[in-house]
Symmetry: C2
């Protein structure tokens, strides 16, 4: 790990602009007819997907009137060329070879821009797909933190191949980043931030940052003031330096009360620090108080999206997919789904066991309402668990709040149960009055069956609500992800207990009448 | 709506730093004993919630060694004072009065910082709670886009009261922002962006921005180049201006190929534009091509969080809550939950109807497996709908992809069905062999019942998977939110059809044997 005492703009590798002809020289290597064939194929795929009006209406934006300067750009786009948007539209449906071809036929600059904006997984796949001679140029487009993500995605087997593409200082930086777990703040951070000395003047600082403006720093707009041992003394915005008296010392302009995160902090926790403090960038500190890097808010958007996706998938009752839906293979998909379904099925088998205990109560007029009763419990349970899981994810509800949530939900559960129970029994009375159950044995006792159903719904809804609300706390307590309190899991648990509730109430009320 | 031809730093109201004594003069107005009582109460609440180690470990960060400059700040914090973190910890559990008191006892600067970082809803509540004489100072802390959010949250009745607190130019800006729907790009944007002319030199531009550095612009680091009619010609980063030849014209430095959004674009679509292009800030253009403002990535984090919360709540089978869990009243909570539960219950009543059709098949040995079979369909359906809803939200799957998803899921559904069906029938065979069903009428036919159960599980899982995967497409087609294809809704639909599938298969296989 490098911990230079001086800011090291020298160590920052230059981007590749001076080697344009090498960079994507492949464009000229494709015969023209092959090129137009590729373009046509990709355009056709893009066409079938169309614009999802709800998703993307960038295309509808009218040109901003007479733009003399932009005109040159616009004429450049002839109809035969592949537009960035076409490739972006078609991308999820293309295989690796088609993707590589698509990048080849794009203008160099567009291709690079497109490549940089891809997910680390796609970047990793493409890098490994490219011929060894070409990998280096693509790899050089990426910042060290992005390279680290790519290498993580590419897996252990390809680690050395990819690391070999880097120059020495970058490889050092990347190795330092790879030491962090994927979900730690350290895995998100960029090591290329602007550093200042406390005893510089504002003017010197501005000049120094101006010199760094061409370097590949993540941002020059927020600079960190470090002492000789790389410890963070304060932060200063470029704007403040700029607005200050040129002779003022950096140490007098800087803010010393800096919100910071540790390098081993969980990324979701980092995202909550961003939200709670309305930050754009946060410094990352290690256990010794040394500054290691910065995390910027644009990376936090990805963290938030990924966390939401993971939670949604867990809540839906499957393992987190970790890749886009259309890009996962059927095999992976089945594996990630079958495991949970099988576990749930085994759980659900206890319904048969439970029903076995009440076999003499399994008379048709009671069986008729069984799915209705147990599912009302499952539904209210899945509502409650959604609310608690999401509030936990946002940091609104903490583990210590379980008592509060318990009291709240028990009351809500009773009210909801009474509402649903009334509706359900009404249905039984009306249908019963209309003679719907007369041909069933004991069908004439529909009134008392209606009361049984009402009581069972109240019991199941209350129980389901409580189970749904408490399960996330239990899971977190056990060290598991609260989001695993999925709708199907809650429904399964409530199904089994719902059967017990229903038939126990039925035995109490109907014993001697029907049973 | 103001569309000034010139950049209008003059129109930007100054912040209130020169009126410190007025700003939160209340601190001195509270008697000391009342003040320490408040502090103690809030600290006690904060204590009970503790630190959610998983959520927040900021506190564990070691001090960054000997910091001469920061020392002054640290000694300031005596034990009697209320720390920002305490108030933040206690906040969700405090009522309005306690919150107001909490802000009063904080040091002025901390209180302002805390207030600015609150949600618009909390800000609105507090503003209306403050005495009229104090509202203005708090309101002035907020940027126009934040004021617009506050006014939207405060509701129609308080609109005029709050608007009256603003000075004329700010009110004009806020009114322009309020014209946008809450979920449109226009509702997110800031009108305070840096504007440049194309014919300025780089040096002039830097100087001009330097002068604006003290103004309340959202950012001076990205400047937009506009023509006389406010149309966007290009964008230039401060960094580029800074690194360029001082005599170069802005029009030669700027990028003309600017990703932009329209003011009426949906906010979630804007967030996808940010993600697809790795942006930090995006210009907002109206239908005439005029630049209206900018949206910055930190606002996008909130959009993404809110969208994820809304989708999660819809998927959990309730209406979007639109406020933190602990802060919603029980009444609202019950309303938002009861409606969907009642609808689902009514849907679930069709299970009774369906069972009615098969009443002569409702023999105990078949009823035993009913919950197991229908819930395996519901579980696989909720998996499929989660995957599709989330992929739609991320823009990975578009409406036009339904055919693709259909083919994919039908295959996956069959494989999953076969896996689960085998497990389920195995259970029936083993229990049957062990004599578990012998005392039931027809219990000796367990082998053929096992086959029936297996076939029913295959059918239900396949059907559930398809329903779950297709329902989001259907809902989107109907103009509804795909996220409404909730786990409970899918489960309910699959319950009804699962009964039909099960007993139809049973009739086919068992007719003449048991039925």
């Amino acid at each position: 790990m490098s911990s230079p005492d001086e800011p090291v703009p020298e160590a920052v590798p230059e981007p590749v602009p001076d080697r344009h002809d090498h960079a994507t020289g492949e464009v000229t290597m494709l015969p023209p007819e092959r090129q137009s064939q590729i373009i046509e194929e990709i355009k056709a795929v893009a066409e079938t997907r169309g614009d999802d009006s709800e998703v993307f209406d960038l295309i509808d934006i009218p040109p901003t009137g007479p733009i003399p300067i932009a005109a040159a750009v616009e004429t450049k786009e002839d109809d035969d060329a592949l537009a960035l948007d076409d490739l972006r539209d078609a991308w999820p449906l293309l295989d690796l070879e088609e993707r590589g071809d698509g990048l080849r036929v794009l203008p160099r600059e567009d291709a690079e821009e497109f490549f940089i904006a891809l997910t680390p997984r796609d970047q990793a796949d493409l890098l490994l797909y490219f011929r060894p001679g070409q990998r280096r140029q693509w790899m050089r487009l990426l910042e060290p933190d992005d390279v680290a993500d790519v290498i993580q995605q590419a897996g252990e087997a390809n680690r050395q191949t990819l690391l070999a593409l880097l120059d020495d200082p970058t490889r050092k930086e990347v190795l330092a980043l790879l030491a962090y777990a994927e979900d730690e703040a350290g895995g998100l951070m960029s090591t290329r931030y602007a550093r200042l000395r406390p005893d510089m003047s504002a003017d010197e600082a501005v000049l120094y940052l101006r010199r760094q403006a061409r370097a590949k720093l993540e941002t020059i707009y927020t600079a960190y003031v470090l002492d000789g041992a790389q410890r963070l003394l304060g932060v200063v915005s470029f704007r403040d330096l700029f607005a200050a008296d040129p002779k003022a010392k950096v140490s007098d302009i800087m803010t010393t009360d800096v919100v910071r995160v540790t390098d081993e902090m969980d990324q979701e926790a980092v995202s909550r620090v961003f939200a709670a403090n309305d930050l754009n960038v946060v410094p990352v500190i290690d256990a010794d108080g040394k500054m290691k890097g910065i995390v910027t808010v644009d990376d936090i958007v990805d963290v938030v999206q990924e966390a939401a996706t993971e939670d949604a998938q867990k809540f839906g009752g499957l393992e987190a997919l970790d890749m886009p839906y259309l890009q996962s293979t059927r095999r992976e998909m089945i594996k990630k789904r079958a495991r949970w379904l099988a576990i749930l099925l085994i759980g659900e088998m206890f319904t048969a066991t439970a029903l076995g205990f009440f076999e003499d109560s399994l008379i048709p007029i009671l069986s008729l309402f069984l799915p209705l009763i147990i599912s009302s419990g499952g539904n209210s349970g899945s509502q409650a668990s959604t609310l608690v899981i999401r509030a936990m994810a946002l940091g609104e509800v903490r583990t210590a709040d379980w008592g509060l949530v318990f009291r709240r939900e028990i009351l809500i559960g009773v009210v909801l149960g009474v509402i649903l129970g009334s509706i359900a029994s009404l249905r039984v009375f009306i249908w019963g009055e209309a003679g719907a159950y007369h041909h069933l044995s004991a069908g004439s006792h529909f009134a008392i069956v209606g009361i049984t159903v009402a009581c069972a719904v109240v019991g199941c809804v209350m129980w389901g609500t409580l189970m749904g609300a408490m399960l996330p706390f239990v899971l977190r307590r056990l060290g598991a992800d609260p989001a695993s309190a999925s709708a199907p899991l809650v429904a399964t648990l409530v199904d089994v207990s719902g059967i017990v509730i229903y038939f126990t109430i039925a035995k109490l009320i109907l014993s001697g009448v029907l049973l």
